[in-house]
């Protein structure tokens, strides 16, 4: 019936959304416009709090009690959603517009079988019979490439893995054949290799069904992979919009430029092309500056002009529907290269500081903890991990969730003891010594920076007292005044104002909290710092600053850093050597150049190909792994990667299933745990190729 309509699917014009709280009106989105044509995928990019999810909720007309659209219009297939009755909206939601949320488990009803949940959609919206609905459910589950669709329909959500759940959520969205699909960070909760599969699926489905998409993400690389056009948002406003190619290659807004400069791209090098963070902090909605919202953080800011009046979107001539909210589009030299940083001097690595040899960590999981009945199962979290790290060296430990990298950190820090194997810090044995039995020096010598900035500081104590406590524990300074002084110096070190000592953690932003976490780790001048994904929870523009700070302090103190991460771009940017882990095994180890160039371990190869890269000049080989990471409770026989390995067929016989491959040493000390023959390894091509700029 609506098939006759051939205009844009979604037209948003000058949309403004506000939330009304007791503190007054808080504008969340201001003067936002965008158009989505049939079959087009539109990306909505921005940092947290920029209003991108509010736009999506506005389209769904689901702003809650406090939110309201205060201006502009949202037209879906030419009809204004603002004027529709609740009944009309109910018809459209779920049948013509479908939404996919970040947390798959939260979008599925845990008490209903998958099949029932899927069948409900056409049965409610189209009054379809149960039998037809079942048939359709079977079709979409097949379409989202889930194995054994019939069994899937009979299972409950908790029986599926995160990746499978997200596929079901997508299937549910497709059940009604919507014209518009809104995806709100659909892969953020998933691992990279699983994410790659979902992204592939979303792209293909878009083509197959001709569905328009609004893809919300903070990850520019992902948007490049999935979308045709994008819109960059900052502090409630769209600052730049255009086709992927225009915005990525010919950006015309300082914020977009800042975003690109603060993410590590394949060409980034900590010395030659350093990351540049955007100075300052994101403005709170009620503290937005006059004029350009980005003004206070912009290096092209001109007083009296940029802060005079609200700035409208203006079109950039010559490009296709490319607009930017900047007054100085024609004045800024967009092609200017960043100044090269003073060569900080290649840090020379010294003696071996930490050495791990054949470390194993098994957990025993009893079937029933209270009565001990049933068999106990063994989770092999770490399986013969060996490596050594030298003074002033950064060793990156890379892997997806469940690969055992956090367990390794726990063993090194003494929160757990090893089941087998050895590990020494300097001369002290640390593998079998729990933290209670370590002496003060050993404790201070190996410290950790935690992942979640909102969890790393105790919300009940002031910043100053938390740092002073660390100093007391490590015996730094002998009087209260000395420790106070040292604490203030540490605040200087992490470039925070001394006044922060009196503040509580909730008064700090995520990046600032993470800086305090770094100050705390370096308080006792440690020899080794384990950084567990220290920046992954931060916004892009802050990540670069925190990464730089971490590296700077490390260089000055000649600290060894074990950098745990799943983000290969950042690993490539800052580490000297890389260790890739999969299901508790070290599958590849070598210098950064060796690991990022062929020959690869097949898992590293897939991982490299899965990482989204926000650069149009990069061409990647697409390797999408099947399925999910097996459970460590029930690991596959033989090689841990054999269930998903795309190169398994190159190994004769069933060697991969029968035997765990030995660690092989290739040229230059590059180690790979794989059965592939030397010839196959030699034939591998690089996954990432950077084409020279046009």
């Amino acid at each position: 019936m609506t098939d006759t309509y051939d205009g844009p699917i979604l037209e948003i014009e000058n949309l403004s959304i506000s939330f009304f709280t007791r503190a007054g009106e808080i504008p969340a989105v201001m003067d936002f416009s965008c158009t989505v044509q049939p079959g087009e995928a539109m990306g909505l990019v921005g940092e947290s709090g920029c209003g991108k999810s509010t736009v999506a909720l506005g389209v769904m007309q689901d702003l809650g009690k406090n939110g309201a659209i205060v201006g502009g219009s949202i037209k879906f297939k030419g009809r204004d959603l603002n004027d529709m009755s609740d009944e009309e909206l109910r018809q459209i939601r779920g049948s013509e517009i479908a939404m996919i949320y970040q947390e798959p488990m939260a979008s599925l009803n845990p008490a209903m079988k998958i099949g029932r949940q899927l069948m409900e959609v056409p049965m409610i919206h189209e009054g379809m019979s149960e039998k037809d609905a079942y048939q359709q459910a079977l079709e979409v589950v097949t379409a989202v490439r889930l194995p054994d669709p019939e069994r899937m329909l009979k299972s409950y959500p908790h029986q599926l893995s995160g990746g499978q759940q997200q596929r079901i959520v997508i299937a549910m969205a497709l059940m009604s054949k919507p014209s518009l699909l809104i995806l709100d960070e659909p892969t953020t909760a998933l691992d990279v290799t699983v994410e790659a599969g979902i992204v592939d699926l979303v792209k293909d489905l878009g083509k197959q069904y001709g569905t328009s998409m609004l893809f919300i993400s903070h990850n520019l690389g992902l948007v490049l992979d999935t979308c045709d056009r994008l819109c960059v948002m900052y502090s409630g406003e769209a600052v730049e919009t255009g086709s992927i190619k225009d915005v990525f290659d010919k950006m015309r807004h300082p914020y977009t430029q800042g975003l690109f400069r603060s993410i590590p791209l394949p060409g980034a090098d900590k010395n030659a092309r350093p990351l540049v963070s955007i100075p300052g902090n994101f403005p709170l909605p009620h503290e937005r500056p006059p004029g350009c919202n980005f003004g206070p953080r912009c290096s092209y800011f001109q007083e009296g002009r940029c802060d005079a009046a609200d700035i409208p979107m203006s079109a950039i001539p010559g490009n296709d529907r490319h607009d930017s909210r900047c007054l100085r589009i024609d004045e800024i030299d967009w092609a200017a290269q960043l100044p090269r940083r003073e060569d900080a001097g290649e840090a020379t690595s010294g003696d071996v500081v930490i050495k791990v040899d054949g470390l194993k960590k098994y957990y025993e999981v009893a079937a029933n903890a209270m009565f001990g009945g049933g068999e106990t199962r063994v989770v092999k979290a770490n399986e013969t991990v060996s490596f050594e790290a030298r003074e002033s060296e950064t060793l990156a430990i890379v892997g997806e969730s469940g690969c055992g990298k956090s367990t390794l950190a726990k063993v090194l820090l003494g929160l757990e003891t090893a089941t087998d194997g050895e590990s020494t810090l300097g001369n002290a044995d640390i593998a079998n010594v729990p933290i209670e039995e370590r002496d003060r020096r050993t404790i201070a010598d190996i410290q950790m920076v935690f992942q979640n900035p909102f969890d790393t500081l105790n919300p009940s104590h002031t910043i100053g007292s938390q740092i002073i406590r660390v100093l007391e524990k490590f015996g730094v300074g002998s009087t209260v005044a000395e420790r106070e002084e040292r604490m203030l110096e540490l605040l200087d070190l992490v470039k925070l104002p001394r006044a922060f000592a009196k503040r509580k953690p909730r008064q700090l932003s995520g990046g600032q909290k993470q800086r305090i976490g770094i100050a705390r780790a370096f308080a006792g001048t440690p020899k080794v710092v384990v950084a567990d994904e220290p920046v992954s929870a931060l916004d892009v523009s802050v990540q670069a600053a925190v990464t730089d700070l971490l590296m700077e302090i490390q260089r000055e103190n000649r600290t060894t850093m074990l950098f745990i991460s799943h983000d290969l771009s950042i690993v490539r940017y800052l580490s000297d050597r890389v260790l890739v882990m999969y299901l508790g095994h070290v599958v590849e180890m070598g210098t950064t150049d060796q690991v990022f160039a062929p020959p690869y371990h097949p898992y590293t190869e897939a991982l490299l190909s899965a990482v989204p890269i926000a650069d149009t000049s990069v061409e990647k080989k697409r390797i999408v792994l099947d399925g999910d990471i097996p459970s460590a409770m029930d690991p596959p026989s033989g090689c841990p990667f054999q269930t998903r390995c795309p190169r398994k067929s190159s190994v004769p016989g069933n060697l991969c299933e029968a035997e765990v491959p030995p660690m092989r040493t290739l040229a230059g000390g590059h180690q790979v745990k794989c059965h592939l023959s030397d010839e196959v390894l030699a034939e591998m091509e690089p996954v990432i190729q950077v084409h020279a700029a046009e």
């Binding site: 935690f450 790393t456 919300p459 705390r520």
Partner: protein, 389 residues
């Protein structure tokens, strides 16, 4: 008899006047707090909602009534017997020249005593025991709940089992057992008091020791304070052996106190254990472990402060429950002397006469209800405010 029975208008007007010290205190405390509410943290935030203000008003009303009871109550609650006033209806004038006040405002009870004075004096028993006993129950629950949640394993299994055991035992039966004369004469209540009252001292010693072990100068002063002050209270409360003779508890009250702590602490234990299980997974706890903190420091200084929101809310609710529990005990005549103006006891007395006169039971019942309602409203307001952070 030169005066007639006065109407309800004048009864309430006269009662209002008699309560003058309470109004004065309320005006000062609530006025000052309201003006300074932005600087008073969680307590100040109660003034942000109407429900909170009403709740606080009711609670403070009874607190001040208990404090000024001797000024407010016109008659003696136990001895003030006047002829002709047996079961007198509210507003009956007193036919005696030596009477300190002209009327029995809320009528007279079965023994010709003033119901109004008994209500006012009765607030003292409740407000002396309920908050103190609840706070003790919290100390016990926290001291046991933290290690149960933190260590898990066998410690947890044993402590949780014991808590379940106490919870599974019928409360009223437990009270009967604890306060029957047969048991009272055995050393059991004193032994229980000795153990239960020791726990807060242990709690505070651990509290200061875990934090200030690195700074002996501060630590010794704190420990000395805790041991002197705690030891003094302990000897007085648990054994009635206060060398100075100031602190003491009669065996009846001690029994009630101990039993209330005993039945309340398992519930607090479970709440604290649950909160600990949640909070111990946070990174800041791991950070404390990686810098070599001892378990008690982590429990008392890293975990406990972050559990305070739910605990304060529960404290308020639990004082309400304890108030009702004390009423129930009084109703059954447990642990209170038959003469005392305890609300629960008065309700039971009045219940027997319900068919002829209602006010004897109604007045203490309404008093009990308004206090518990106030505590519940306050807890609601605190919960809402603590959720906002």
């Amino acid at each position: 008899m030169d005066a007639d029975i006065i109407g309800f208008g004048s009864i309430f007007a006269r009662a209002f006047v008699l309560f003058w010290p309470v109004w004065a205190a309320l005006a000062v405390v609530m006025g000052v707090s309201f003006a300074m509410r932005r600087r008073l943290g969680l307590y100040g935030q109660v003034y942000d909602s109407w429900l909170g203000i009403v709740g606080l008003f009711l609670v403070l009303f009874w607190v001040f009534t208990a404090l000024f009871a001797d000024v407010i109550a016109p008659f003696d609650a136990v001895e003030g017997v006047y002829s002709g006033m047996k079961k007198a209806v509210p507003g009956t004038p007193v036919a005696s020249d030596s009477a300190p006040y002209d009327y029995f405002l809320f009528g007279g009870d079965n023994l010709a005593r003033d119901v109004f004075s008994r209500m006012v004096e009765g607030s003292q028993t409740v407000l002396a025991i309920a908050p103190a006993a609840t706070i003790f129950a919290f100390m016990v629950g926290i001291t046991l709940g933290l290690p149960a949640g933190f260590y898990g394993g066998r410690t947890d299994t044993v402590l949780t089992f014991l808590a379940n055991l106490v919870l599974a035992f019928p409360v009223i039966l437990l009270f009967y057992l604890l306060v029957t004369p047969g048991i009272r004469e055995t050393p059991i209540p004193t032994a229980m008091a000795a153990v239960l009252f020791l726990i807060p001292i242990v709690f505070f010693v651990m509290f200061f020791y875990s934090r200030y072990a690195t700074r002996p100068d501060v630590l010794y002063i704190q420990l000395a304070c805790v041991i002197v002050l705690g030891g003094w209270l302990y000897s007085g409360l648990a054994f009635n052996l206060d060398p100075l003779g100031i602190v003491g508890m009669d065996p009846n009250t001690l029994n009630i106190f101990v039993s209330v702590v005993f039945v309340n602490s398992p519930t607090v234990f479970r709440i604290v254990r649950g909160l600990t299980l949640d909070i111990k997974t946070r990174d800041y706890v791991a950070a404390a472990q990686t810098r070599g903190e001892r378990p008690w420091y982590i429990m008392l200084w890293e975990i406990l402060p972050n559990a305070r929101g739910p605990l304060i809310v529960d404290l308020c609710l639990r004082i309400g429950y304890t108030t009702i529990l004390l009423g129930t005990l009084g109703f059954f005549g447990l642990g209170v002397s038959p003469e005392s103006p305890d609300w629960g006891l008065s309700i039971n007395e009045g219940r027997k006469l319900w068919r002829s006169v209602e006010h004897i039971a109604l007045v203490p019942a309404l008093a009990l209800m308004s206090l518990v309602l106030g505590l519940n409203l306050l807890a609601d307001a605190l919960r809402e405010q603590s959720l906002k952070d």
